[in-house]
Each structure stands twice: as structure tokens, then as C-alpha cells.
Subunit: 261 residues, 2 copies
């Protein structure tokens, strides 16, 4: 029940300054809900006061260990996953800059899932007590975090639908639509390309499929001129085609202003 950080995380290099942080991912995320004032900008900056760099393939969080912090992802991508005793693995979601990447795994006595760095990443650890303090002192931020958690939960539910009730073709098409439309990685227009360091094995583990099957399905997408995956680059060739293939409704997760904020 020890607090784990050193075994998996390289010694923290304090890079943050405490200065207002108007360009970081978390600011961008909260700004989608309300306009932050100076004080709020300031506190977001302070949350980034100390940062850690973690290299690719390292686990930032390990299932079963105890943590006293959550991590704000400043740059890079992570995957959150869980492994069963016999090695089967399920990827739960991907973290992009601005996400509290260890939410909700680190909020239990022991972490309920692991977080692995898909690229070199920079994170800002935030003690859990500071979260409660944030809720008390900056309720607008707390409310927005709550709404943000609701969004995450809804995305998780949608993935549950995909894994539970869609076939392989639909799942793979859905995978990219979720990435683009829901996680706001790139845009959803024909010809758009975006960088995402995902392997076919990762796609398979996210969708509950086997790697060979994902490979065959990706070929289908390529042949039908819907999407090509080239190394770390993905190119959307036919957004509507993808949407049809996945029977996906991109308006499903339209944000709205938080009532009363």
C-alpha cells in the first residue's frame, strides 16, 4: 500500500513556473466550458508548477499500487489499460494533453488500471487533497471537471456499445471516429490527417479484437478509400463513409454550456 512513483517515473525535473498557463491543454479543456478569469488562470498555472518527464513505453501508473496524486498530461499521449491474470489486455482509453490521465484509476485505495506512455510525455502531478481544495476554492473549475468527467464516462459508455454490440468493421471505423470527434485529436473532414502513435495491437486491445483481424479490417478501410493508416499518420479519406460504416452519430456528444455556470 506504498506510494509508488519513483520506480516508474524518472526523477522529476521542475519545468513549471507557476505563471499563468494560457496555452496548456487543461486550460483549453476548461475553456470549452467557461471563460477563466485571471485568478483561475493563475491556479491552473500553479498546478503545473512541477512536472515530470516520462519516456515512451514506461508505465506512469501501475494497477494495484497506491497513489496520492493524479497526473495532468501536459504533452504526449498515454493509454490506460488493464490486464487479466492470464495476460489478456483491454485498453480503456487514451489520454491526450489536458486530460487527468490517472482519473479515475488513482482515486481508489489501489489503482484500478495502469497508464502507459505511448510517447515521451510530460505530466504535472497534483496531490489528491489539492483536488478537494480546488473544488472548495474554485467551484467553477470543480464543476467543469465534473462535466468533463461526465463526458469521459459517456465516451466510455459509447465504447462499451462498440465492443459489446458492433462487429469488427464497425468497431474499427468507430475507433477513429471516437479519436477524432470525441477526443478532439485532429478534425473530421475528408483529406485531414493527424498524428497518433497507435499500433495495431493497441487498436485490437482497445476494441476487444485480435491483431490479425484488425489488420484485415484496416486493409478493408484502405481498399474502400475510407481511411489509411501510415505509420504514425492517419489520413481520413471519406469521413461520411466512416460514419456510415460505424453507424455513428457525431452529434451525439455535442457539448453545451454548463447550466448555471
Amino acid at each position: 500500500m506504498d506510494i509508488v512513483s519513483s520506480p516508474t517515473v524518472s526523477p522529476g525535473v521542475a519545468q513549471g513556473t507557476g505563471d499563468p498557463c494560457r496555452t496548456c491543454g487543461l486550460t483549453a479543456k476548461l475553456s470549452r466550458y467557461f471563460e477563466l478569469n485571471d485568478e483561475e488562470h493563475d491556479i491552473i498555472g500553479r498546478l503545473h508548477a512541477s512536472t515530470q518527464r516520462v519516456e515512451r513505453r514506461r508505465d506512469l501508473v501501475r494497477e494495484g499500487h497506491a497513489y496520492a496524486t493524479v497526473y495532468i498530461l501536459c504533452s504526449g499521449f498515454v493509454s490506460r489499460y488493464r490486464v487479466l491474470p492470464d495476460g489478456r489486455r483491454q485498453v480503456l482509453n487514451f489520454g491526450v494533453p489536458g486530460d487527468l490521465v490517472s482519473f479515475p484509476s488513482c482515486m481508489f485505495a489501489r489503482a484500478t488500471a495502469s497508464v502507459c506512455c505511448m510517447t515521451e510525455v510530460v505530466v504535472a502531478p497534483v496531490p489528491l487533497e489539492q483536488l478537494s481544495w480546488l473544488f472548495a476554492r474554485f467551484p467553477r473549475i470543480g464543476t467543469a471537471l465534473f462535466w468533463s468527467a461526465a463526458r469521459e464516462a459517456a465516451i466510455c459508455a459509447e465504447r462499451l456499445v462498440a465492443v459489446g454490440r458492433r462487429d469488427a468493421d464497425e468497431r474499427v471505423a468507430y475507433f477513429f471516429l471516437e479519436l477524432i470527434a470525441l477526443r478532439c485529436v485532429g478534425t473530421l473532414r475528408d483529406g485531414d490527417r493527424f498524428t497518433f502513435p497507435v499500433t495495431q495491437e493497441l487498436i485490437a486491445d482497445a476494441l476487444g479484437l485480435g491483431t490479425p483481424h484488425v489488420n484485415r479490417t484496416l486493409r478493408k478501410l484502405r481498399q474502400r478509400r475510407l481511411l489509411v493508416l501510415d505509420g504514425q499518420e492517419a489520413v481520413v479519406q471519406d469521413a461520411d463513409g466512416l460514419i456510415t460504416m460505424a453507424s455513428f452519430d457525431p452529434t451525439h456528444f455535442e457539448m453545451r454550456p454548463i447550466p448555471g455556470l
Copy 2:
């Protein structure tokens, strides 16, 4: 984009009194995180000021419609689900008394899922603006709701693991373990019985399986003396056997006090 309530909900019968509500499910849920003071008890009571009765099989929330409220479930059970255009259905979770049953579906411009009453239920509608107000005025309640949302998200993730990477036997065993250990319906000891109005079709839709297969798997559970399902009654005969069958770790979701609250 209209506000829907009358088509699916019977005319509200004001049953709440605004009195402190020390026995309701929401109080119980929050009390797991911290001890409510009088003022907090009072506000929880006020949230239950007006209630609605909804009959079995009715949809409390319908996917695609717009809502301005969430519902606190006072009594009864509900299921939250989503249907694909061709009729395939995925059950996302079950709501028990004390849950905000329309979270997170109702927090978008249009509801992202439907909520159906498995029994006759009583709900207390809470306007969304009131949630923001609650966060600002009663930060401890807000924080606890946030933690509670984290728990829901973790449960959803665990179900994703089940549906994505477990076979039918493991899934069905997991189904009951989640119900008991995670949702706190009944207890997890040999010989314990609990009431839960679930049909085999509902189990199938929650686990991404077909009804006949669920039936066969339930028979297996019965024959192995692990669990019997008799109408609305479930009897746990061998908790450890179930845990083994599902390769499930019941300590996984242990609560801990919220740091700093």
C-alpha cells in the same frame, strides 16, 4: 430540441417535504465519503422536494431528446441503455436508489442514452443549474459527487474489460459480482440472497451476449452450485467460486476516504 418530460413521465405527485432526508439513498451514498452536517442534510432533503412516480417498463429518459434535469433515484431500479439503428441494444449500467440515474446521459445537448424503469420507481428531478449551484454552495457534496462519478467511471471501465476480453462464463459470473460488490446490492457471502428484477435478455444486453447463451451459462452456474437465479431472487451459493470463475478481484474497488475532505 424540446424539453421532454410529459410524454414518458406520469404527472408528478409532490411527495417530498423538504425535511431532512436521513434515510434516502443519496444520503447513504454521500455518507460513505463524509459525515453530512445539518445544513447538508437539509439541502439533500430539499433536492427531494418534488418527486415523480414512473411505472415499470416506461422510459424515464429517451436517447436524442433534450433534458434540463438529472434524476435522483429514490426507489426502484432502472437500466441505462443505448440502441443502434438496427435494434441491437447495449445496457450500460443499472441504477439503484441514491444514483443520479440520468448521469451522464442528460448532460449533453441531447441525451446520449435512454433510461428504462425495471420496476416502478420514484425519482426526484434536479434542474441542471441547481447542480452548479450545489457545487458552489456545498463543495463537500460536489467533491463527493465527483468521487462518486469516478467510481461509476471505474465500474464502466471494468465492464468494458469484461465485454472486451472475457468469455461468456467469466462475463456472467462477473455480472453478479459487479452487482453485489460494486453496486452494493446485497452482500457477497455464501448463502446470501438478494432481489434484483433482471431478465436474461437484460443480462445478455449488458454483457454483449445472446439470450440463449446467457441461459446456458446460467445453467452452468446452477449446476456448479455457484449461484441460482429464481425469478427476482438471486442466491449466492459459492462467492469464492464466482470470483474464481470471473477472475475478479473484489478489493479492486475499495473505497478510501477522499483526501482533504
